[in-house]
């Protein structure tokens, strides 16, 4: 049992990450419906185990480049909930001063190089970050999060090939959530994602992205490749999204029963708890304390963000250049 080797604090942290994502985004969904969240918002609910399982192997000195569905990646990489809430509500104290919003949320101090509103935009950036890591030679690495949709973008292919050619310390974490916007992966992807990725010369393993332990274990098998100069690799984590492409998406392209079934059978948090309980991995009372703390943390963060002031009007013209 690989899971038995995972230290308790790693498991508690992973649970906290997943709980934060779920609680934060559930509240954001409600706020969006109430009209308090400007712009577009893409929620990660249902995919929490991917971000948690991948980032459990990373430190602040490793880099992640993310997608338009990036809140989960930011939280898993250590971004503060309060700064994120402020950013989503476009407030001046936001992690990006309210100038990035949901689709550009970033915490570079944590190595989180930004959500990315361009599908396929992140993989080329991740290989660039991996190039920095390679030249510094301190065993750090980069992760490119990419959805199934992004695997049909040439930019992702170019990045994969370049990573192999230059032997870069990068992992392509492909999250197959079933849909690229409103189009099903089965229609849009002409071949199996894992097989196609292997075609670039990348080792790639398909895992159940709703199972933290599967993602964690698969990562463990490949992460040392990057850290010891053996080159890039990939995982395909399958985890259907529960929400629409964006909040407000009526999801007419999906059978409502599909979503009900996901909630009942493929909830990453429930699956985590079941495993923890079955294998007696952690005292459940510890996780109950996490629940309580996260609920309070999210509630306080969002309440604070809602009443916080917008950016100062002078901010319109700042941060365009270092000097001009």
């Amino acid at each position: 049992m690989v899971a038995n080797r995972i230290e308790e604090d790693v498991l508690v942290h992973a649970y906290r990450v997943m709980k934060r994502i779920r609680t934060f985004e559930t509240r954001i969904s409600k706020e969006f419906a109430a009209g308090t969240v400007p712009g577009m918002t893409h929620l990660y609910i249902g995919q929490e185990a991917v971000a948690a399982g991948v980032c459990a192997h990373l430190t602040d000195n490793d880099y992640t480049a993310s997608t338009h569905r990036g809140h989960g990646h930011a939280i898993a990489k250590g971004a503060e909930i309060r700064g994120m809430a402020l950013e989503l509500f476009r407030k001046g104290e936001g992690v990006c001063k309210g100038k990035g919003g949901s689709m550009h949320i970033a915490d570079v101090s944590r190595g989180m190089l930004g959500a990315n509103a361009i599908v396929g935009g992140a993989a080329p950036l991740a290989i660039g970050a991996a190039l920095s890591a390679k030249l510094r030679a301190k065993g750090n690495m980069a992760v490119a999060f990419a959805g199934d949709g992004a695997t049909n973008q040439g930019t992702t292919f170019e990045a994969m090939n370049m990573a192999v050619v230059l032997n870069l310390p990068v992992l392509f974490a492909i999250e197959n959530n079933g849909y690229g916007e409103h189009t099903g992966n089965e229609y849009a992807t002409g071949a199996d994602i894992t097989k196609r990725t292997k075609g670039f010369g990348l080792p790639c393993e398909r895992v159940d992205g709703t199972d933290f332990f599967e993602v964690y274990d698969a990562m463990e098998r490949v992460v040392n490749r990057a850290r010891t100069g053996k080159g890039p690799s990939a995982i395909e984590a399958v985890a259907m999204r529960w929400h629409g492409h964006f909040e407000g998406d009526p999801q007419n392209y999906r059978d409502k029963r599909e979503i009900e079934k996901l909630r009942k059978t493929a909830d990453p948090l429930v699956k985590f708890l079941q495993r923890v309980e079955a294998d007696r991995l952690i005292d459940l009372s510890i996780l109950a304390q996490v629940d309580e703390a996260v609920t309070q943390e999210v509630s306080e963060a969002v309440d604070y963000a809602l009443q916080a002031p917008p950016p100062n009007p002078a901010e319109l013209l700042t941060d365009v250049y270092g000097s001009y």
């Binding site: 509103a117 935009g121 660039g128 970050a129 890591a133």
Partner: protein, 341 residues
Amino acid sequence: MREITFRESLNEALRQEMELDDRVLLIGEDIAGGNGGTEGAAGSTGGILGVTKGLYLQFGADRVIDTPISESAIMGLAAGSALTGMRPVAELMFMDFFGVCFDQIYNQAAKFRYMFGGKASAPMVVRGMVGAGFGSAAQHSQALWPIFSHIPGLKVVFPSNPYDAKGLLIQAIRDEDPVVFLEHKTLYDTKGPVPEDSYTVPFGEANITRRGDDLTIVTLGRQVLFANAVADRLKHQVSIEVVDMRTTSPIDTETILESVRHTGRLLAVDEANPICSIASEIVSIAAIGAHGSLISPPRKLTAPHTPVPAAPNLEALYIPQEQDIERVVREMLGISQPVIA
């Protein structure tokens, strides 16, 4: 002072900055001789442009990185490494290839600082050839600087001579922002005085290459050479001031306006296509900022609104030439046109 070519001047700038700062690295197709770096003659050639000649042999494959023909991945390597502390200089060969990878430049690198609330930047340089004149036709000859100049977050540099090429490139490498560095393909073998020591030419400071009283020509890149030649040829009839913009983002509005206020006449010359050209911007700056000083309507001289043709005779017509500049100057000043034999 010793004279070296524009190409040698760029090479020297890269070499000196790489010696000074080990974060500076070069990325591009064949820049290390192909195949990830080739010893001997191939390794010293420096790819198609020859600008990186010898640098692979001096700095090795970690810092002079040969890549496949994958422009988006090249730009991603540059933007991502710049975002994480490196000082990459990417060579795109022909700037026309921006079309393949523009997302990484204008959606990503140019916007990091703003989108991330001032907490990140992409200090990178993208170099490449621009311009018509070699019969390279529509996809290898364009003048795309108006497009780059339009993007907030990017700086755009277009040197006209070897001295500026070295100083502007060193400034570009040290700059905190992403810089698009344009090299006109007809200028690589031009020679001029270049100091051996390292120096910078600041951005946003135009260079007055000819002093004059009767008419201002504002231009950039190769066209500066044409404008200078016209000013010299007509100097006994008319006194022309030539302003070399050096950078199109930022634009040295002050120098342009001072010159136009002094001469009262403006001719803006640009090899770019006319709509939203840099010439259009210059005319707009003058119309707004020097209206009361203008003796005659400002004029624009640009390429026509067409792709670059392949046939030499058509390409020659496409490019604003010395004689075109002279013709417009004569029209503006009421000097009779030379009789064509």
